[in-house]
């Protein structure tokens, strides 16, 4: 029902294009700049005291929530502008799209020290830490939103675009009447995903320490961390309980109403059999106060529209194919300055990379292999349990009606919040952190898969199921001929998201500071986290770049092919 669409630009396969190299170099240059600033950051920073008394929890929860909300507002604004340019300006798109593709593969957590330390040079520590955490959460929320908006803009039915042209919609009316409504279901769904991802990284973004520098922020994440450090079980339970309460409240008061409301923006011309309902949304709709409010805002909107129409009279949208080529001078100048800057940054980054010793390079390669294996294993385990369970839920409406909310709640608890508890339990297992890390990755990623499998199973048409029953196909035959092919596109979509999440999670799963002890296992995530903690910037830069390159390559060479195969061959239409 709610499948996250992943966007891959439709272009011939090539592991790396020219645009990508520019983009990669820009990212490297950016990283270098941050590191240069970070080297000048103060040597010791004292963190705030975190009180473990439950009475402090509402305050901490509020701080965390505000942080999330700020990051989300930032994400949404960024998304609207960026996606608009990428969709409607051909020249801009050539840079913006590959940039987005690489940025979403960047391990967010290795950006944290760079962002944080460079900000702390310019701003007071408290503000810097707050801003850094917001930027961090932003980077975990924004990419899928932007892709969703971009994809909506480029898939608006041609006839609705033509109607907007014929009836002389200016950009504002077009945005309000066509583009935003059309994109709403995707944006709402991706906002939910973004918030889930945001919680995951909020925990990490609040408990940040670099060597002697303590950048902890008052919030739920730091509360849980402190509780785990002190081994205070009641406090852990209080913290987790509060977190769950916040998430459930958000779900009931924000997301469900939004989903119920956004149903009206689907293009389908038939009514749904089981529309999503929300008691809160229904209550709002029948409220007199809200009715007055909406009448007032309608009057206000009328004025705004009139002003907008006067300010920007109708102009036909530029058709991409008609845009004439040719260089203009300002753009060329900006390009030259940009490329010079990138070149300089990349050059210096390369000099920094020279400081990485051969043994460290060997470690990086070994780490990449180890982490790749872990990601793979966690994916296999996740597939092994989500496919049968997801199919059972998806093909049985009665089961799914009461299991779905349960699964959703379970999925929305950020794995990072539970890490300390799980680490305690898992370390006693054979293999120690080596195998524990796999389970930690799994915790964060399996839900994407489960949701997608459920969505896929519920789209299998009833008549095909009757047919397989009539043909008396054996269980295996039924899976082989009907269920697995039908699930394929959904599983691929889920697996792409899940493996992306697993790579990111490796940074928190392979290197754990806990109760004064440091636990490590070989992996690229471990190297990134270790380099961060020690302030070894050349190693940080090298291992981050290594991870970006491998993730981008895996996406291009492996996932994208499977995704296109799935789209072309196995889509039920």
């Amino acid at each position: 029902m709610m499948l996250k669409k992943i966007y891959f630009p439709k272009q011939p396969f090539r592991p790396l294009r020219r645009g990508d190299i520019v983009v990669l170099l820009s990212v490297i240059a950016l990283l270098y700049l941050g590191i240069r600033l970070a080297l000048r950051a103060p040597a010791a920073v004292a963190g705030p005291e975190i009180s473990l008394h439950p009475r402090g929890l509402p305050y901490y929860a509020l701080r965390s929530l505000l942080r999330m909300a700020a990051a989300y507002v930032l994400s949404l604004s960024f998304t609207l502008v960026y996606g608009y340019f990428a969709a409607y300006h051909q020249r801009a798109r050539q840079i913006l799209l590959p940039l987005l593709d690489v940025l979403q593969s960047v391990p967010i957590l290795s950006f944290l020290p760079v962002v944080l330390l460079s900000l702390s040079v310019i701003l007071p520590e408290g503000v810097a830490a707050e801003l850094a955490s917001i930027v961090l959460i932003f980077t975990s929320q924004v990419w899928n939103l932007t892709f969703s908006w971009y994809q909506s803009l480029t898939t608006i039915p041609e006839e609705l675009q033509e109607a907007s042209d014929t009836f002389l919609f200016n950009w504002w009316i077009r945005l309000k009447t066509l583009e935003l409504p059309f994109a709403t279901p995707g944006l709402v769904w991706n906002s939910m995903m973004s918030w889930a991802g945001g919680w995951f990284f909020l925990m990490a973004a609040e408990i940040f320490t670099v060597g002697e520098r303590d950048f902890r922020l008052p919030g739920l994440g730091s509360y849980l961390q402190e509780a785990a450090n002190q081994g205070n079980l009641p406090a852990i339970l209080w913290g987790v309980g509060t977190l769950i309460a916040v998430i459930v409240l958000l779900d009931q008061l924000v997301w469900r109403p939004l989903v119920a409301w956004s149903e009206r923006f689907t293009l389908e011309m038939v009514e749904r059999d089981y529309p999503v309902t929300s008691w809160f949304y229904n209550a709002l709709r029948s409220s007199l106060l809200i009715e007055k409010l909406s009448r007032f805002s309608a009057a206000l909107g009328e004025r705004l529209d009139a002003w907008m129409l006067q300010r920007w009279p109708f102009a036909a949208r530029v058709r991409i194919s008609e845009e004439k080529g040719g260089l203009n001078l300002p753009l060329l100048m900006i390009g030259i300055v940009f490329i010079t800057g990138v070149g300089f940054g990349a050059f210096n980054a390369a000099r920094l990379l020279m400081q990485v010793s051969p043994t460290q390079w060997i470690q990086i390669v070994l780490g990449l292999v180890a982490t790749t294996l872990r990601v793979l294993i966690s994916l296999v385990i996740a597939l092994a349990w989500t496919i049968p369970v997801g199919v059972a839920i998806g093909m049985n409406p009665r089961l799914s009606s009461w299991l779905q909310p349960l699964v959703q709640t379970a999925a929305s608890i950020p794995a990072t919040a539970l890490f300390p508890i799980f680490v305690l339990m898992l370390l006693s297992l054979p293999g120690g952190l080596n195998s524990a890390a796999i389970l930690l990755m799994l915790m964060g990623t399996q839900w994407y898969l489960l949701f997608n499998v459920i969505a896929g199973a519920s789209t299998i048409p009833q008549d095909l199921r009757y047919t397989t029953a009539l043909l008396r196909l054996s269980r295996w035959e039924r899976w082989r001929t009907l269920i697995l092919p039908a699930l394929f596109p959904y599983v691929i979509t889920g697996a792409i998201t899940a493996s992306g999440g697993a790579w990111n999670a490796s940074i928190v799963a392979e290197y754990i500071e806990f109760g004064g002890r440091t636990l490590r296992t070989k992996g690229i995530g471990d190297l990134i986290a270790f380099a961060t903690a020690r302030g070894e910037y050349p190693l940080l830069l090298a291992s981050t770049i290594a991870m970006i390159v491998i993730v981008v390559l895996i996406n291009r060479l492996f996932w994208r092919r499977l995704y296109q195969l799935a789209e072309e061959r196995y889509r039920m239409e």
Partner: protein, 441 residues
Amino acid sequence: MENATLVQLEHVSQIYRSGERRFYAVQDINMEIREGEFVFLLGPSGCGKSTLLRIITGLQAPTEGLVLYRGQPLRGVNPRATIVFQTFALFPWLTVQQNVEIALKARSVPSDIRVPRVLDLLDRVGLDGFESAYPRELSGGMRQKVGFARAMAVEPELLCLDEPFSALDVLSAESLRGELLELWTEGKIPTRAILMVSHNIEEAVLMADRLIIMDKNPGRVISRVTIDLPHPRQRKSPRFLEFVDQVYGILAGQTQPEHIELGAAPGKPGVTRWLPDVHVGNLVGLLERLNETPGDTEDIYQLADDLGVDSDTLLKLVEAAELLGFVTVAKGDITLTPLGEAFSDASILARKEIFATRIRRLPIFQWLLELLRRAEGRKLNWDVVQTALSLELPPTEAEKQLEILVAWGRYGEILAYDDETRIITLELAGGLPVSKDARGG
């Protein structure tokens, strides 16, 4: 007619580029629309009539040629023209009233003028009581009424209709046609001229003052017919049927000597004859129907009713039957040939054999067979063949042609195709089993 000219097209062409090649969507169109006229653009699908409508309304700028509106060159979207779309193009998230209102709002009409005007208009098209309904709650016919109300709300001088009835069921379409004609002939709307795109011949003769008849490959005007019947027109009247017969005659053409009819193979000098997109099963139906007719001859327009297909499909079937030598066409009449009769009488397997020998004579088919014969293992990947065809045709057309080739070849058991591997194989004559999974439609 002495009325002023609204629209004038001079040597208008729309060219698409695909790689190095250029394809004409429409070529060298000259036409005009005068005040007081109801003009039809009539032609088979793919003849570029919708493209022409978009050029006339300014949604699309032509690659070559001049578009004049009231004597002035048209730049960008023409604010004095609106379109009623085939698929309605309503905003599903707006109510009926909002859907109509938005057209006026975009023109800065304030709400105290806008709302009464919209309500009045909805009342006039018979949507009173549905103001707050959403499009998805309405039937197709009512949705199109909203489309009409929206287009008329802005009081356009030129009302353009892009196959407005073809997505509707027969009864809704018929009643909407009547209502539109009533509004138009009784002067109830301030519209000065109507341009309608259609492939339905009867509809055109029923409504139009003038027909501009187009054909495809490349899209061009082949004929113009003035229909001087008074309204309301009687579908069964002899003069009405004469016009219908005449238009069918123009669109179905005249069976030419074989070498002209078959055309040249792709890549060879001369005009390549592309295959009409028809199901072989429907072709059999057409021939069986003709076989039952005394004298094996029939007016083409008569068949449309009997077979329950629209004129576009019928004309494609006639073209296919003609191409295969099963029928001949002259002056709007279709006659079954002895070969067609033999085919119609034959058993299923014998039909396949006749069909196979007939398609082997088509140059485009010979081209494909030659390509396969020279290939290793007598098999080729779909994409390879499609790329080869793309040298001659726009990519979407190339894909379509290959689909037809493979479907016909499969029916004749000359070709096999495996959708898994996308491999097209040349079957040894009368040997191998027919491949299983039929590729889409």
